[in-house]
Amino acid sequence: MTTPAVEEYLAVSFRLQEEGAPLTVAALAQRLSLSHASVSLMVKRLVQEELLERCEGELRLTAEGERRAAEVVRRHRLAERFLFDVLGLAWDDVHDEAGRWEHVLSPAVEERLDGVTGHPDSCPHGHPIPGREAAVAVELHALSSLDAGERAVVVQVRREETSLLRYLASLGLLPGARVLVEQVAPFGGPLLVRLGSARYALGRDMAGQILVRKGAR
């Protein structure tokens, strides 16, 4: 039996993996706003149930874990689509609301939601809905994975907080912006990114949230 708590852990792990961020107890604790101690207890349980596995100091979803996580995330993103398209909730409210729906939808309801929203590919924030990935036309990379000297075009910002998006927008870091990675500090340090005639230092985590297409155009 998968409890809502387990589902929440799996979904967060799924999103972290999707973002290419390290999946660790610390990262889970941060995302879930829980204490380190309680997260590591739960993680131990999930490892025992073979939903998570340990691998080179990090955690990883097992095949079974990933399957179950994808179900939760799919319900979440379908619910978001429905709340946004059909019920007309504001786009920055749907995430929290869908967080409650994702644990209670039955397969039949999930099926109907999919139909009512017209079999969407992505949630209102642009994230793919698992189980229906359209072939991705361009390969997206996290800005943090680029080397010094590489050029790229910003495609999407992963994090969904409006205030962060607005802040980045006021700096010009929004979809379509052309950037050049000038330097990458060692030991997981920040990136120095050139945008027009401005240079920004972006922490590695921050840069991991910005998805880009490699190349100058």
């Binding site: 980045l168 927008a169 330097q183 922490g203």
Partner: protein, 708 residues
């Protein structure tokens, strides 16, 4: 949740304050200065106002807003220096403070200062201001710099594109500042400035005819199209906002400006609108519009607006500027050296060592000179006057306050704080701090901070007081809390003086270094622990890195002076009161009452003589006093000549005394600023933590040393 209520309360007060406080406190028209960080805004402010400046604090932010007055040919205007920000969203402290100050002061004209060498990004803020319906004059600054980088701007074309006057300036030489003020005053005075009143006088490039955007009556500036206006017009949202805005919105904003803010999901505006029935009605329109736009554009309208605004800014910049390719400049080269790992880290270490040495040697030198001067001139005068006016013991107590107290405040303030502020201003204004922040980021992340927190930590080695104030550069409360805790644990120059005067002198250099090592380990441990225990995530670095610049000395002097004045005004009263209380306790012998409850800890656990416990209590006033008091109290207790600590303490005791002095809470002045910066509850917790650590570590050292 409580922060939400707090915010709602703040909002309720906003409009009241808009009328009340501001109503009587200014002369003439109000000019607000807006601009991105580091575009020379403060330089223009200083040129406009001279040194007669006050500062204002805005609720919910740590950013201060400076207010001064400018004069031109007998006319007076009030100038408000908004904090430098990239935009006007409520996304960060600086943007929030800039916006609140704008709404509250309701300027008659906003001067936007642009960096000509980075026009596209700078125009974003300009467009946001125009979008809100505010009257704007543009100062195109740093045209000399831009010219050296091969960038030429067509001022006339820029003025036409924006529909507002544009005045080129070179702020650090004062060029164009007078013309800027003249145009701003003229624009502020003409109630229909954007209409037919335009184009007269000064031969400046006003947007006359040929304007690309729809012509509006009144002084409203032109409004561009972001692809959401047509729908807003059609579905009645704009009309609803226009009809209801006087009932809920801050005064002075256009309906279109409000619409954009609401579509951008601006929390403050949403909260204001929800607060009144008329606002709620308008919100229903906006929400429906948001839905419709979201479906149509397949993107949140907020992003669409931001994108359109940027696109417009970029196209204006491209139309108005020409770039000539130039070779790589020396300063770019310098930058590369400062930020590349191989060269940057040695440079940073050298600069930090230099900073520390400068603070240590120059600070100590000034401190000794000051003490000498004070005891030779001020002390005897104060002493004579007080004793003439008051009977014996009362005079003694009062002298503690005015003589020892003022001396203590200035003896820390002038040598260490002033020196530090000077160095800080130099490092800031040259842009070097950015390079250090970039390099140290990965190290700082371990303790839940980012690169920008390094500066306050380093400055803590000089004096904790300005260092705690320096933590304001950090954006979240979590970061400020961690950083100030670590700052308080950094051995400041006063504590280093105690270590040198006791452990190093009477026990040896190695134990002295060991004490500094223990302090460093405790800081690292505390930082890592706080990062794990405090809720929330560590701050993320998003920082513009500026090319190095040679700052004008005048600017550095002004900056240093303002910060120093602020420190003296804040710290002095507390130190004086603290000294008076200590004096009262001491002169009435009440201080000895403390020996008994402290004795199990001091004598039993720490293994120190009882007088040392009292000296530790006195150390709260000013850390180097701990040592001076130890000697003075020992004189009373043991009599005779005991200025040699070894006569009544063995090496173990001296070591433990210096260790405890180094770890526990620095001083009253630090407590005061800490209380203001992070709140009194957190300050209490930090005090308890450091005192607890000091007793724990000091006792452990004592027990270990007893056994070896």
């Amino acid at each position: 949740m409580s922060s939400c209520h707090q915010e709602a309360d703040d909002l309720q007060q906003l409009r009241r304050r808009q009328r009340r406080r501001w109503g009587q406190s200014h002369d003439g028209p109000v000019i607000a200065l807006a601009g991105n960080p580091n575009v020379g805004k403060s330089t223009i402010f200083n040129h406009l106002t001279g040194l007669h400046v006050t500062t204002a604090h805005y609720p919910g932010t740590t950013v201060e807003v400076a207010i001064g007055s400018a004069r031109l040919d007998g006319r007076v205007a009030t100038v408000v220096d908004l904090p430098g920000s990239y935009g006007l969203g409520a996304a960060s402290d600086d943007q929030l403070a800039a916006r609140r100050a704008l709404l509250e002061t309701r300027p008659d004209i906003v001067i936007v200062i642009l960096d000509a060498s980075n026009l596209a990004r700078n125009l974003y803020l300009t467009l946001e201001l125009l979008d809100l319906g505010l009257p704007v004059v543009v100062a195109l600054n740093l045209i000399d710099e831009a010219g050296r980088s091969g960038i030429q701007t067509n001022v006339k074309r820029l003025s036409e594109a924006l529909g507002v006057p544009v005045i080129p300036t070179v702020a650090h030489r004062g060029q164009g500042v007078r013309a800027l003020l003249a145009v701003a005053l003229q624009e502020a005075a003409s109630p229909d400035g954007a209409g037919n009143g335009r184009g007269r006088g000064h031969g400046l490039h006003h947007g006359r005819g040929g304007r690309r955007w729809q012509h509006r009556r009144g002084r409203q500036p032109p409004a561009p199209d972001y692809g959401v206006e047509v729908e807003a017009q059609a579905d009645g949202s704009l009309a609803a906002l226009e009809a209801t805005k006087h009932e809920w919105a801050p005064e002075g904003l256009s309906a279109r400006g409000l619409l954009l803010l609401l579509l951008e999901r601006d929390e403050e505006m949403w909260a204001l609108a929800r607060g009144s029935p008329a606002g709620q009605e308008a919100l229903q329109h906006v929400e429906a519009l948001e839905q419709q736009l979201g479906r149509m554009l397949r993107q949140p309208p907020a992003l669409v607006i931001a994108g359109a605004r940027h696109g417009l800014a970029a196209s204006i910049a491209a139309n108005c500027q020409r770039r000539m390719p130039l070779g790589r400049r020396l300063r770019d080269q310098l930058w590369r050296y400062a930020t590349a790992t191989a060269t940057g880290i040695p440079i940073a270490l050298a600069v930090l060592a230099g900073l520390f040495a400068f603070l240590y040697y120059v600070g100590n030198f000034l401190s000794i000179q000051f003490d000498r001067l004070w005891s030779a001139s001020a002390s005897p005068v104060l002493d004579a006057v007080t004793r003439f006016l008051l009977p014996g013991q009362a005079a003694d107590v009062l002298l503690w306050g005015i003589d020892a107290g003022i001396n203590a405040s200035l003896a820390v303030g002038i040598p260490y704080v002033l020196t530090f502020y000077f160095l800080l201003a130099v490092l800031e204004d040259t842009g070097y701090l950015n390079a250090v922040a970039f390099l140290s980021d990965s190290l700082m992340r371990r303790v839940g901070l980012h690169g920008q927190a390094l500066v306050p930590l380093i400055s803590g080695a000089g004096c904790n007081v300005p260092a705690v104030i320096g933590t304001r550069v950090l954006t979240s409360r979590r970061e400020r809390l961690i950083a100030s805790t670590l700052v308080v644990m950094t051995p400041c120059s006063a504590r280093t003086a105690v270590i040198m005067g006791s452990a190093a002198r009477f026990v040896g250099l190695a134990p002295a270094v060991a004490i500094l090592g223990v302090a460093t380990l405790l800081m690292a441990g505390t930082g890592i622990a706080l990062n794990r225990l405090l809720p929330g995530r560590p701050g993320e670095l998003i920082m513009e890195v500026f090319p190095p610049r040679r700052p004008p000395l005048r600017m550095i002097a002004v900056k240093t002076w303002f910060r120093f004045k602020d420190f003296v005004i804040r710290a002095t009263p507390i130190v004086i009161v603290g000294s008076l209380v200590m004096g009262l306790l001491y002169e009435t012998d009440a201080i000895w009452v403390f020996t008994r409850p402290l004795s199990p800890v001091v004598e039993g656990w720490l293994g120190l003589p009882a007088v040392a416990g009292l000296a530790l209590v006195f150390g709260i006033l000013r850390k180097e006093l701990a040592l001076q008091f130890l000697v003075a109290l020992a004189l009373i207790e043991y009599g005779g000549n005991v200025d040699n600590l070894r006569l009544f303490m063995d090496p173990r005791q001296i070591f433990v005394f210096a260790l405890v002095t180094t770890i526990y809470f620095p001083c009253i002045a630090t407590a005061t600023v800490l209380g203001r910066e992070v709140g009194w509850r957190s300050t209490g917790a930090i005090m308890a933590l450091t005192i607890g650590l000091a007793v724990l570590v000091g006792g452990a050292a004592n027990q270990v040393l007893l056994r070896v």
